[in-house]
Symmetry: C3
Subunit: 273 residues, 3 copies
């Protein structure tokens, strides 16, 4: 079931408008191309509504937000919401500063978000209006272990019911939930944390998957999450002894480029609860 | 003839001032170093005139334009024009939004451009003051096939006569024209479209080639276009089965790093009409 | 002695707030992860003080400065200075434009800098309030050869005494000095100049090394410099014939990812004068 989702992305090549941080933006563009989507980046308030109108999805990532781009994100987000396009928020570092928490909270309140994707600390901040995020990585105290799966799934479902958005929480174990069902996904490698931007890449890729599979948005989100994790596993298997995180970054995107429906279908490791 | 052009770049190491989008800027810098040029990036209005004065060429790329950088591009462009430096415009996404169309049109009207390089949709927008660009890729309706070569070459020559700039149109078939002659170049691989930024890289590299070969600007433009396409072919030949677009990106820049005059001379596939 | 410094980085994983240029920012983030640190990028004046407070070090790199980020750098720098955090300045292109020279000079005067790291032209600009920097590479007339080692070491010590900061000058031969001692380091490869951003990467990595080794800041700076150069040597040894500067970029970061204390200890080539 999940495997078909990437086939649809490759067939439809959805154009995704990314308003994303300048740290990982190149990888975000290349991962969209790798999975079959098409990227466009634009962040000026004078043009974002037009760009969003051309696209099938909008990825809002606040990783290097500033006063100019916050305003433009709100403009683009309203346009995308009004058009019923896929609108995803990646609340990078929400909880770390008041600006990030307020910006993320405002976007959640004002937009009709399709997906919210973050680490557990960021998503808790969205839910609680407060957080203890240290930097942009999940706080150790928030880490989700096997004993926390049921509670985290319940939390994600509840937040989905409250916001109307699919909630994707990624970490050692990944979750993708609507109000009724939660995919608990166990793909990925711990070494992915040694590369900057796998989360940003996943957010953009999720936009493309959901845009190409509008009648099964939850499955598409889960498929994107599983695809990223599986690519991390495949990429790691292709590493030579002298390779490190720079090469691993490329290997993961390469694995997505070569991912087919059968590989994703067979490699996706998940349960639905 | 074209092969010599890269030798001159390596001998002279022209400094190229790039005002380019933040998506592909790192690859742009590395491709300039790969071909023998030297990059400098600066976009603040308070310093761009000084930076441009130090450089041999200016590459204006509107891929992630904003109100601040548009102003700075105009300032830098006027300085570069006045100094008679190589001034290149890459009108990324012209036709997609009014802001991009207006910005590109203003730069064409106000500057003494040496080269305009874009895909067919972008260059048509420049010519017509209107367009149907979808995102930043060429519109399918505009695609140039073998049957359109003569007409496209004539179009490029006419636009060159009108603007005074060399016109480079890149796609499945590439064109580089002044008012009299048009190089039709058949290098490249379709898989280059699966990497973000090969166009941006080519624009910056063209600046370096033209700056190092001032007495044969058209040939230098054609050499840069052929060099990029040939690097795409060589890079693809060096791909392993598990490699994908992330590795391909590196392989193309690597191929430019290793390109010598003889390889370019022999590998360049073109006719002049 | 130097080898232990990287062990401490890996044990403590210092969070480094980078306000750095958008050309090389992705490599900067990945090199911090490679050496064991943790990156966070933020440049809006409304949040930089909070981000800096969370971090152990602040890396200020003026490579693509603008009026907005200059203001934010001053705010972050003051916070970092007041908290006694590691505060490093990389005065990219100081001497090339009045804006860069003035910005760098202002930061040196107003902040309690822990380290200043640049090429010889940039550091001379800091010392003299004037310079002949061409672009962002060191001016040929400034190049430090074997005959200039004693004079350059004396210059670095004097500037350290004057500013209170450790002075790191990198080029064919590298220097790291406080007022009393100067490490003269002979690692590295000339081909590193064919990659954009090895200097930016080193600055961020130096922040992490110094933050994790507060009782031996000079040794930590020298260790970071040696680590970067040694990674350049190891990375070059891992190159295949068709590889070029794009792959070399990855190989260097990979080598840092795989660097252990023993390799650094044995590979570091230096004298203290």
């Amino acid at each position: 079931m999940l495997g078909d989702c990437i086939t649809r992305v490759r067939e439809q090549a959805p154009l995704i408008h990314c308003m994303t941080n300048y740290v990982t933006v190149n990888d975000v563009a290349n991962v969209l191309l790798a999975c079959g989507g098409s990227p466009i980046m634009a962040d000026d308030a004078a043009e974002v509504a037009e760009i969003t109108s051309l696209a099938s999805g909008l990825c809002l990532n606040i990783g290097t937000l500033n006063s100019r781009t916050i305003q433009a994100m709100q403009t683009a987000g309203r346009t995308s919401s009004e058009l019923g396009h896929v609108t995803l928020l990646d609340p990078v570092g929400a909880g770390a500063t008041r600006l990030r928490t307020r910006t993320a909270t405002d976007l959640v309140e004002n937009l009709d978000l399709t997906v919210i994707r973050g680490n557990i600390s960021e998503v808790k901040t969205i839910a609680q209006g407060a957080g203890t995020t240290q930097g942009v990585d999940a706080d150790a105290a928030d880490a989700v272990g096997e004993g926390d799966v049921a509670a985290t799934a319940a939390f994600a479902k509840e937040l989905s019911a409250k916001t109307g958005a699919i909630i994707a929480i990624t970490g050692a174990i990944d979750f993708a939930a609507d109000a009724e069902r939660c995919f608990v996904i166990r793909n990925g490698r711990p070494e992915m944390g040694k590369i900057t931007g796998t989360g940003c890449q996943l957010s953009a890729m999720t936009c493309a998957f959901v845009a190409a599979n509008p009648e099964r948005r939850l499955e598409a989100t889960a498929a994107a999450v599983a695809c990223m994790g599986l690519a991390g596993q495949i990429g790691w298997a292709n590493m030579a002894p002298t390779d490190g995180n720079a090469t691993y970054r490329n290997r993961i995107i390469d694995a997505i480029f070569n991912m087919d429906a059968a590989t994703l279908e067979e490699g996706a490791s998940y349960e639905v609860i």
